[in-house]
Structure formats: structure tokens, C-alpha cells
């Protein structure tokens, strides 16, 4: 009996003997949770490309800061937040839709970053590695930043949940009811920007983009009320990030990629087997 238990538990415990794995697991779990919470808004409002766009914009900020000799992380964070605000502002003007705004800002800002990089002839620093972290490279300072992010995001969403939901669902009516819609839209984007930056910096760009979208998208196939989607997204994120990291340990593959692939697999399973909308469980094609 003891041997069976050991057989089951040892594979779980062995990676935990390494401090870098302890930090990595904590980081991806927390990041997954926060991204799932904010990501529910992202997916339901069709902002899926925002995470990717903000990541690219943050890179430009880092490159600029590097060129000017300033703090690279601060440059990345500032540009990320400013881009989030710019996207909201452009999208609010009735002339272009939000995803058009995202596309425009993203391409322009990133091109600027590439231009700046091409002028940098002194490569004593690996700028990409500087801005885009790595699950395996999570340090104690990253954990602190993640902890702060968790507190900020959860407080923001919990305290203002009904206002955020109302604003996301029907901004006109929300405004008519006295909800400060414009302020909340900007705040949500700023929080999204900060979440993206902290995630980027601690676990890298591959995860930052995927964890904002895939868990919430998976949840939306399984449950159908906004707060349920958020809870299921959190659960999916927790399970997939931890599983992915464990798999990368035992299969000797890149960790960030492994996590994203496991999460995507979860989505595909939900797509196939979802009770109402699954590809394999639907009675006939076209059934609701």
C-alpha cells in the first residue's frame, strides 16, 4: 500500500525538490488564475488580440528605454499601459471598431520597436530575454510582482463586478444607470495592460497571450453564465498550468510551450464534448 502511494506521489513530489520548480509552479498557477479572471472579459468582449498587441507594444517600450539608458521594465510597463489606453481611446471613437484599433496600434508601435532595435548595434544585453521572461527563470522579485498583481486584479474585479459586467454587456444602459462607463472601460484596459506586462515579464510571451484567452474560451463552451465562466476558467487555468509544467519536467520540453499546448488541448476537448455545443455531442448539425 505504501509502495503504491509512493509510486503515485513521487512523480508529483520530485519536481518540488527543486526551488526553481517551486517558484515556477507558484508563478504559473497565480498567473493562470489572474489571466483567467481578466481573460473572461477579454474573450466575452472579443478582445482576444489585445494581449498579443500589448506584448508587442511593451517590447517597443523596453527597446526605447534601453536605447535611452532607462529602466527597461519601467519602459515596457509604461508603454504597455499607454497602448492599452490608446486602444480604448481609438476604439471608442465611432469611426473604427475595437479590433481595428488594436490592429492599428499594435502594428505601428511594434514596427517602431523594430526600428529602434535595428539601430542598436551594441548587443551586450539580450533584449528579448530581458523583456520576455521564462517560466524557469522566475525569481523572488517576480513572485512579489505577481502577488501584487493578484491582489490588485482580484480586488478590482470583486469590488466592481456588477459594474464591470454591466459595462461589458450593455454600456449604453450602464451609462444611463449612472455607472461610470468610460472610466471603467479605461480601468479595465489598464488592469489588462498591467496583467499582461507582469505575466510577460515573469513567464514569457507565449503564455501571456494564451492564458488570457484559452481558459476563458474553454469555460464558455462548458457553462453559460458569466460568473460561472470565470470560475471554470480559473479551474481550467490552474489544472493546465500545473499539468503543463509537470509534463515539461518529465518530457524535457520547453515549459511555456508545454503549458500552452495542454491548455489548448483542454479547449479542444471542450469543443468536442461540450454538453450543448460540442462537435461530437450535438444531435444534428446546426442544433443550438
Amino acid at each position: 500500500m505504501g509502495d503504491t502511494l509512493a509510486f503515485l506521489f513521487n512523480p508529483l513530489l520530485e519536481p518540488l525538490a527543486f526551488p526553481f520548480m517551486q517558484r515556477g509552479l507558484l508563478a504559473v498557477a497565480l498567473v493562470g488564475v489572474v489571466c483567467a479572471v481578466i481573460g473572461t472579459f477579454v474573450v466575452m468582449k472579443g478582445l482576444a488580440f489585445v494581449g498579443d498587441a500589448l506584448a508587442h507594444c511593451a517590447f517597443t517600450g523596453a527597446a526605447t528605454a534601453f536605447l535611452l539608458g532607462g529602466n527597461v521594465y519601467l519602459g515596457a510597463a509604461t508603454t504597455g499601459v499607454l497602448s492599452a489606453v490608446a486602444i480604448t481611446w481609438v476604439g471608442r471613437s465611432a469611426r473604427v471598431s475595437l479590433d481595428t484599433a488594436i490592429g492599428i496600434i499594435f502594428a505601428g508601435v511594434f514596427a517602431l520597436g523594430l526600428l529602434i532595435m535595428s539601430r542598436v548595434r551594441n548587443y551586450t544585453v539580450d533584449l528579448f530575454a530581458f523583456v520576455f521572461g521564462n517560466v524557469l527563470g522566475v525569481g523572488p522579485d517576480d513572485l512579489i510582482a505577481i502577488a501584487v498583481m493578484v491582489v490588485v486584479v482580484l480586488l478590482f474585479v470583486l469590488l466592481l463586478y456588477k459594474e464591470l459586467l454591466f459595462t461589458a454587456y450593455d454600456p449604453t444602459m450602464a451609462a444611463a444607470s449612472g455607472v461610470p462607463v468610460v472610466l471603467l472601460q479605461y480601468l479595465l484596459m489598464v488592469v489588462l495592460g498591467l496583467t499582461t506586462i507582469v505575466t510577460l515579464r515573469s513567464v514569457g510571451v507565449v503564455m501571456a497571450v494564451a492564458m488570457l484567452v484559452t481558459p476563458a474560451a474553454t469555460a464558455s463552451l462548458l457553462v453559460h453564465r458569466f460568473h460561472h465562466i470565470m470560475l471554470v476558467a480559473v479551474a481550467v487555468a490552474l489544472v493546465c498550468t500545473v499539468t503543463g509544467l509537470y509534463l515539461s519536467f518529465y518530457l524535457a520540453v520547453a515549459s511555456g510551450a508545454a503549458i500552452v499546448l495542454v491548455t489548448t488541448l483542454a479547449f479542444l476537448l471542450a469543443l468536442a464534448f461540450s454538453p450543448r455545443r460540442g462537435l461530437l455531442t450535438r444531435g444534428r448539425p446546426g442544433a443550438a
Binding site: P15, F18, P19, F20, M21, R23, G24, S118, R121, N122, Y123, T124, V125, D126, A129, F130, G133, N134, V135, L136, G137, V138, G139, L245, S248, F249, Y250, L251, A252, V253, A254, S255, G256
Partner: protein, 302 residues
């Protein structure tokens, strides 16, 4: 009459095309500027060439100071430099993957191309089955590189052959002396401490020559990320070998290595392999610097 008109028109067209072709064609041989135009990849190879060639040679290194060659992406300026070169020196064995195709397409037909690393026994490992390219880290092999520079320059510019021979001989003497010093210095490190952990796998030849053992590496394949299993292997190696100091080359982000070192209670120090910078501007400076860092970090005597 008409035939003559067509002929003269054709002739002027040909002349025009020829002029245009001359304008865009690669540069003319050394006779024009007087100096041998040499192009190489790494600044430290440029250092070799300057020491042998002196004033007779104009050297350009494509990879900028402080950058690693495995990830370097060439620019249009690099293409122009290659097209104007009389002689091109590069390492080979997969060190400069982005540059090698350019050499095929941009270099002049009569330019001499020299691969430094050919003809010498290689150390193979899982990640470079053709052989690890960082041969110059063993000073004896670097001396072979210098010899190749001398012989090639003499071939391309025979009137300078004596000068090249003299310069090379002087330089090789210095390298020989430094080689002996480094060997002696490393020997002061106690046997148990001669365990080398570096960021990327650039030191097998160095280790082989000077009596060290490479026990851990973070980046197996430049361009890919280390996996969790790689990191676990490294952590185990650090513990098993009671490693005091780990080394990171300056062209890499030291974050991963710093965290691993902290977990294992080890120090982090710099070590040079491919890139030169203000702290170590020449090959000899680089090797001296490395030796000192190793001696201080692994418990040897100065």
C-alpha cells in the same frame, strides 16, 4: 543605312548596361586601395587578422561587439562588406548559421574563403554531432587559426609574405607564453574544484586543454529555450559537484543562471567565449580575463 542605325543603338545600349553593371558590381581587388580587404565574422577573429596583417590589411568583423554569432542576423551592410572582400575568414562547424549562405551568394568568385575549424579533431556532443565549433578557446588551436591567417594572407598578397611571417611569429610567441601561464594558473585550482558550469556550451576545448571538466550547461542549443528537465539536471550537477562558482557569458541574460546559482549557494562570474567588449577587447585579454575569473572563482591561487 538602317542596319547601321540599329547597330549603333545596340552598341550604346550595351555600353550603358556595361556602365551600370560596373557601378553595381562588387568592388575591385586590392590593387585599387592598396590594402587587402579582409572580412570575418567575430571580432576576436578580426583581432587575429590585425595581429598578423598589420597595416597591410583592412579588417571588418560582421558580428558586432558583445553579440553572439549563433543568433546574429546579417544586415545589408554586411552583404556589401562581403562582396568587397578579397579574403573571408569564418569559423564554420555551424557557429555562424546565418552568415554562411551569404558567403555563397555575395562573395566574389575570386575571393578566398577560409574555414578556421576544418582539419582539426573535433569534440562531439549530443547538440553538435558535427562537432562543437568553439575551438579557439584552446589556445593551441587558436594558434593554428593564426597560422591559417598568415598562410592565406601570404597567398593573397605575396609581396607582404615576409611581413606576415614576422608578425605571425611574434604573435604566436606571445600566445604560446600566455598558454603556458594559463595552464599553470588553472593547475593551482584543487582537483575537486576544477568543475566548469557555463551558460552555453562553448568551453569543451578550453576544458580539455587546461584540465577542467564541464559539468553543467544551461543552454544546450543556442536559439532554443532550456526545458525544466535541463534545469533539473543542472541543479543536480551543481549539488553533486559542490560547484562554488558558475559562469555566464556577457552576451546572455544572466537571470536563469543567477537563480540556479542562488538556489545552490554558488556565485556567478562572467566568462568570455565568442564576444569581446570593452573589458576584454582582444583575444589575449579575453583569455587572461577568463583565467583570472576561473582561478578566483574555483579556489585557485593568483
Amino acid at each position: 543605312m538602317r542596319y547601321l542605325g540599329t547597330l549603333s543603338r545596340a552598341a550604346s545600349l550595351v555600353a550603358l548596361l556595361a556602365t551600370l553593371a560596373a557601378c553595381v558590381a562588387p568592388g575591385a581587388p586590392a590593387a585599387r586601395s592598396g590594402k587587402v580587404q579582409a572580412v570575418t565574422t567575430l571580432p576576436l577573429f578580426a583581432d587575429f587578422i590585425r595581429n598578423v596583417g598589420g597595416d597591410r590589411v583592412d579588417v571588418t568583423a560582421i558580428v558586432p561587439a558583445g553579440a553572439g554569432p549563433e543568433d546574429y542576423q546579417p544586415t545589408p551592410q554586411d552583404a556589401i562588406a562581403i562582396s568587397r572582400a578579397d579574403v573571408i575568414f569564418y569559423n564554420g562547424l555551424g557557429l555562424e548559421p546565418a552568415v554562411e549562405p551569404m558567403l555563397k551568394n555575395q562573395a566574389r568568385k575570386d575571393a578566398v574563403q577560409v574555414t578556421f575549424a576544418t582539419g582539426m579533431p573535433v569534440i562531439k556532443d549530443d547538440d553538435s554531432p558535427g562537432g562543437n565549433p568553439h575551438m579557439w578557446m584552446d589556445m593551441r588551436r587558436a594558434m593554428v587559426y593564426v597560422g591559417r591567417v598568415r598562410d592565406t594572407l601570404a597567398q593573397v598578397d605575396p609581396s607582404g609574405a615576409d611581413i606576415y611571417k614576422a608578425n605571425a611569429a611574434a604573435y604566436l610567441d606571445k600566445l604560446d607564453a600566455l598558454d603556458g601561464q594559463i595552464e599553470a594558473q588553472i593547475k593551482t585550482i584543487p582537483e575537486a574544484g576544477r568543475k566548469l558550469v557555463t551558460y552555453h556550451d562553448a568551453f569543451p576545448y578550453f576544458a580539455q586543454r587546461y584540465g577542467l571538466q564541464v559539468v553543467g550547461v544551461v543552454l544546450r542549443n543556442p536559439g532554443s529555450e532550456p526545458s525544466a528537465a535541463d534545469m533539473a539536471d543542472l541543479a543536480r550537477a551543481l549539488k553533486a559537484n559542490s560547484v562554488q562558482t558558475v559562469y555566464v557569458e556577457p552576451q546572455f541574460d544572466p537571470r536563469l543562471m543567477t537563480l540556479m546559482a542562488r538556489d545552490a549557494g554558488a556565485q556567478v562570474r562572467p566568462l568570455y567565449s565568442d564576444a569581446l567588449d570593452e573589458k576584454a577587447p582582444t583575444y589575449m585579454d579575453m583569455m587572461r580575463f577568463n583565467a583570472r575569473q576561473l582561478v578566483e572563482g574555483l579556489g585557485g591561487q593568483r
